[in-house]
C-alpha cells in the first residue's frame, strides 16, 4: 500500500492481514493498581480513572485491589452461566445464518462480560438502551432464548412481527429498549429517560451502550452535553472492541486520548475498565450507578475489549485484520478469565465447566427446535403480512387501512387498482 507522507495524519492500525498482531498501543494497568474513589468525588479529582485501566482479576486469576466487588461465588457462577449461554446462543445463530435460515446475525463473542457485568450491577427498574451487540442484556433481563430466535426468524412468534432485522430485540417488561440500526441514537434517548426519572423524583437510572466507532456520531456528543448540563442519572458505556467493521479505534479518534476521557471537558467522570474482566465491569458499573442514584450525575465508562468475531455475518474480518489477533489480545477471553478465577478460588472445575457447556448447548438447541415450529423464512407457518400496517400510529388511519385492503387484493390476485 502506498503510504504517503504529509502533515495529514491518516490513522493506520498496528496490524493488517499478514502482520503480527501488535497491541502495544493499549495502555494497561496492573490488576488492583487503580485507586477506587468515593462516589462523591469531584470529577477533577478522579481524572486518573479515565486513563488508567480498572482491573480486578490479576494474571494468576485472583481478585485483587480496591475495586474487587467481593461477589459471592454463587453469583459469579451465575454470571459465568449467562456468558456461556450468550456464546452458545451466538454460535448456534451464526451457524443458522450460514445455513441460510436467517438473513443476518451479529455475535458478541469476546464481549460477553460487558453486558452481563453491567446487567448484574444495575437494578431491574433501571432502563437499558443497548447497542446491537448487547444481546446478553436481553437474556439477563429475562427474554427467553426461543423468543430471541423467533425474532431472528421473523416467524409467527416474532416479537417484532417481521418488521425488524434479526437481533433488533426489545423488552418492555425487562426494561431493555428496542435496538436501532442507526448508530448512537439510543444515547441521547437514555439521557432523556434519565432526566425524566429525576424530574419525576424516581431513583431509577438509565444506561446505554455504543461502540468505539459510534463515538464519532453527533448523538454521542449531544448525549454527553445533555447528561453533563442536567447531571442526568445515566451511565454511558463505550464498548471499545478495537474495531468498527474494518476501521480500527483510531479512526474514531482513539489514538491520543482514551474514549473514557471524552467527557472530561464537560465535567463527566470517565472510567476506563478492563471489559473482559466481569468483576471489574460489575464494580465500575455499580460505582457509577450509586453515584447517579445519589445525584452525582453521569459517568462515561469505556469497556476495553476485543471483537472476537466478525462485525456481522456480512463481513469477513480476515480481509482487514490479522486472523490471530484475538489470541494476542492482552485482556484475553472474558469467559475463560472468570472460569479460571472460579477454579483457582476452588469454586469451579474443568469438569463442571464441561458439564455447563453441554447443558447450555443443549438448552440452545432445544430452544432452536421449538423456535422452528413457529416458522422459518422458508417454511411456514408464516406471519400475516397484513399486520405490516399495524402500529405505524396508535390508531390505524384511513389511508393505511385502504393500502392494507389493496395489498391483500393484489396478493390474492383479485385486484390491481393504483
Amino acid at each position: 500500500m502506498a503510504t504517503k507522507k504529509s502533515r495529514l495524519h491518516i490513522p493506520r492500525p498496528t496490524a493488517r492481514p499478514g502482520d503480527t498482531p501488535d497491541f502495544s498501543y493499549l495502555d494497561l494497568s496492573t490488576a488492583g493498581s487503580v485507586e477506587k474513589p468515593s462516589i462523591n468525588a469531584r470529577t477533577r479529582d478522579i481524572e486518573f480513572l479515565s486513563s488508567g485501566l480498572v482491573r480486578v482479576l490479576d494474571d494468576e486469576h485472583h481478585a485483587v485491589g480496591p475495586w474487587d466487588p467481593d461477589l459471592d461465588p454463587a453469583k459469579l457462577q451465575v454470571a459465568l452461566r449467562w456468558m456461556v449461554l450468550n456464546r452458545h446462543f451466538d454460535k448456534r445463530m451464526w451457524q443458522i445464518q450460514r445455513q441460510g435460515r436467517i438473513s443476518f446475525y451479529m455475535e458478541a463473542r469476546g464481549e460477553e462480560a460487558v453486558s452481563i457485568g453491567a446487567g448484574m450491577a444495575l437494578r431491574p427498574g433501571d432502563m437499558c438502551f443497548p447497542s446491537y451487540r448487547n444481546q446478553g442484556l436481553y437474556m439477563f433481563r429475562g427474554v427467553r432464548l426461543v423468543d430471541m430466535m423467533c425474532q431472528c426468524l421473523s416467524n409467527t412468534r416474532d416479537m417484532c412481527k417481521g418488521r425488524q432485522l434479526p437481533i433488533m430485540y426489545h423488552s418492555k417488561s425487562g426494561n431493555v429498549f428496542s435496538i436501532s440500526g442507526n448508530l448512537a441514537t439510543q444515547y441521547p434517548q437514555a439521557v432523556g429517560w434519565a432526566m425524566a426519572s429525576a424530574i419525576k423524583g424516581e431513583d431509577h437510572i438509565a444506561a446505554s451502550w455504543l461502540g468505539d466507532g459510534s463515538t464519532a456520531e453527533a448523538d454521542f456528543h449531544h448525549a454527553l452535553t445533555f447528561a453533563a448540563v442536567y447531571q442526568a442519572p445515566v451511565i454511558l458505556n463505550v464498548v471499545n472492541n478495537q474495531w468498527a467493521i474494518s476501521t480500527f479505534q483510531g479512526t474514531a479518534g482513539g489514538e491520543r486520548r482514551p474514549f473514557a476521557a471524552r467527557g472530561l471537558g464537560l465535567g463527566i467522570p470517565g472510567i476506563r475498565v478492563d471489559g473482559n474482566d466481569l468483576l471489574a465491569v460489575y464494580a465500575v458499573t455499580l460505582w457509577a450507578a450509586d453515584r447517579a442514584r445519589r445525584g452525582g450525575g453521569p459517568t462515561l465508562i469505556e469497556n476495553v475489549t476485543y471483537r472476537g468475531g466478525a462485525h456481522s455475518t456480512s463481513d469477513d474480518p480476515s480481509k482487514y485484520r490479522p486472523k490471530d489477533e484475538w489470541a494476542a489480545f492482552p485482556l484475553g477471553d472474558p469467559i475463560d478469565r472468570l472460569k479460571q478465577h472460579l477454579i483457582v478460588e476452588g469454586h469451579w472445575s474443568e469438569k463442571k465447566h464441561e458439564a455447563l457447556e453441554e447443558e447450555l448447548e443443549a438448552e440452545v438447541l432445544a430452544a432452536w427446535k421449538e423456535a422452528q415450529q413457529y416458522g422459518t423464512m422458508t417454511e411456514g407457518p408464516f406471519l400475516d403480512p397484513s399486520t405490516m400496517f399495524d402500529d405505524v400510529y396508535a390508531e390505524t388511519p384511513h389511508h393505511l387501512e385502504s393500502q392494507r385492503r389493496r395489498m391483500l387484493e393484489v396478493e390474492s390476485g383479485n385486484g390491481g387498482s393504483t
Partner: protein, 338 residues
C-alpha cells in the same frame, strides 16, 4: 371567548395541558426564563417551574433525542425547535427513531413527543429563517404533520397534538403569529382582532388531527392550501372576483382527502398552493390525489403555486413568496382554460 393572537393561543394551549397533566414538559432553546424568541412559552416557567419548562443547550438533535427518552419514561414532552430551518440536526432522531419506535417494538414502546417549530417566510428572515420543510416530514410514516392558519385552530390542534399518543410535527407559520397576512407586503399589518378565528375559547378544546376545513365557499375554483397562504388565497379570490372555494388542509398528514375532493368535484378546477419549493413538494401529493379522486370532474389541469425552486432569498422575498399578485394571476389563468 377571548381575543388571542396565534402566540397567545399556543401559550394558552400549553398552559392548559401543563395544568391538566403533570407529565407534560416543555424543552427547547430559550423557552424557559425568556419565554421563547417568539414568546410562545412566556410565563410558563414561572408558573410550572424549571423542571417542566427547560432551557436546552443549542443542539436540536439532543433536544429531540432527549425528548424521545423522556416520552419513553412516561412524560409527554413538547420540544420547541426555534426555527424549522434548525430542525435538520435532529432529523435522524425524528425519522429513524421518533417515527419508528412504536412500529419497531410492535407497540411496546412509544414516545408521544410534539415538536413545535415556527416555519415559513414573509419576515425578512433569509434562507435560514424562512423555510417550510413540512413535505420532508409529511413523507415520513409514523409521524403526524400539522400546520394551523389561525389562533383558534392553533390552540385546538396543539392540544390535540400534545394529547395524541403519536408524535406530531407542529409547524407554526410565523408570519401570521400576530395577524392574518394576505400576501401584500405594502399593506399595513392587521391583527387577529379583525378575524373571526382570533376569537378563542379560554378553556380546553381540541381541533381533531386529520380534518381539513373549507374556509371560503365558492363554486368556480378550489384552492387547496395551508398556513399563511390560506389568507393569501382568500384575498386573491376577492381581488379577482372569481367564486373561489378555499380549503385549509390543516392536517398535512394524515390528509383529509374527502373534504378536498368534495370541493374539487363541485368546482371542477383546482390550484394547490404552498410556500415551500415546488419540485417534489407536498403540492405534488395533493395534485396526484385530486387527479385520482376527481379526474372525471376536472375542467382544467390542476395548477400549482409554490415558492420558486431556489433557496429562500433575502432581498427578493416578495418576488419569491407566493403572494397575492401571483395567486390572483394563477386564479385568472386557471379560469381562462376552456
Amino acid at each position: 371567548m377571548a381575543q388571542m393572537n396565534m402566540i397567545e393561543a399556543i401559550r394558552s394551549a400549553l398552559d392548559i395541558v401543563m395544568d391538566k397533566d403533570p407529565n407534560v414538559v416543555v424543552l427547547g432553546e430559550d423557552v424557559g426564563y425568556f419565554g421563547g424568541v417568539f414568546r410562545c412559552t412566556d410565563g410558563l416557567q414561572r408558573k410550572y417551574g424549571d423542571h417542566r419548562v427547560i432551557d436546552a443547550p443549542i443542539a436540536e438533535g439532543g433536544i429531540i433525542g432527549a425528548a424521545i427518552g423522556m416520552g419513553l419514561n412516561g412524560l409527554r414532552p413538547v420540544a420547541e425547535i426555534q426555527f424549522a430551518d434548525y430542525i435538520y440536526p435532529g432529523f435522524d432522531q425524528v425519522v429513524s427513531e421518533l417515527a419508528r419506535i412504536r412500529y419497531r417494538s410492535c407497540g411496546e414502546f412509544f414516545s408521544p413527543v410534539t415538536i413545535r417549530t415556527p416555519c415559513g417566510g414573509g419576515i425578512r428572515g433569509g434562507q435560514t429563517h424562512s423555510q417550510s420543510p413540512e413535505a420532508i416530514f409529511a413523507h415520513v410514516s409514523g409521524i403526524k404533520t400539522v400546520m394551523p392558519s389561525n389562533p383558534y385552530d392553533a390552540k385546538g390542534l396543539l392540544i390535540a397534538s400534545i394529547e395524541s399518543d403519536d408524535p406530531v410535527l407542529f409547524f407554526e407559520p410565523k408570519r401570521i403569529y400576530n395577524g392574518p397576512f394576505d400576501g401584500d407586503p405594502d399593506k399595513p399589518a392587521v391583527g387577529w382582532s379583525s378575524h373571526p378565528k382570533g376569537e378563542v375559547p379560554e378553556g380546553h378544546y381540541t381541533v381533531p388531527l386529520g380534518e381539513a376545513e373549507v374556509v371560503r365557499e365558492g363554486s368556480e375554483l378550489t384552492i387547496i392550501t395551508y398556513g399563511t397562504l390560506v389568507h393569501v388565497a382568500v384575498a386573491a379570490a376577492e381581488a379577482t372576483g372569481v367564486d373561489v372555494e378555499v380549503v385549509d388542509v390543516r392536517s398535512i398528514a394524515p390528509l383529509d382527502v374527502d373534504t378536498l375532493s368534495d370541493s374539487v368535484k363541485k368546482t371542477g378546477r383546482c390550484i394547490v398552493a404552498h410556500e415551500a419549493t415546488r419540485f417534489g413538494g407536498y403540492g405534488a401529493e395533493l395534485a396526484a390525489r385530486i387527479q385520482k379522486e376527481c379526474f372525471w370532474h376536472l375542467e382544467a389541469p390542476i395548477g400549482r403555486i409554490a415558492g420558486w425552486d431556489t433557496p429562500y432569498p433575502h432581498a427578493f422575498e416578495w418576488q419569491y413568496f407566493p403572494g397575492k399578485k401571483r395567486m390572483a394571476a394563477g386564479i385568472r389563468s386557471m379560469m381562462e382554460i376552456e
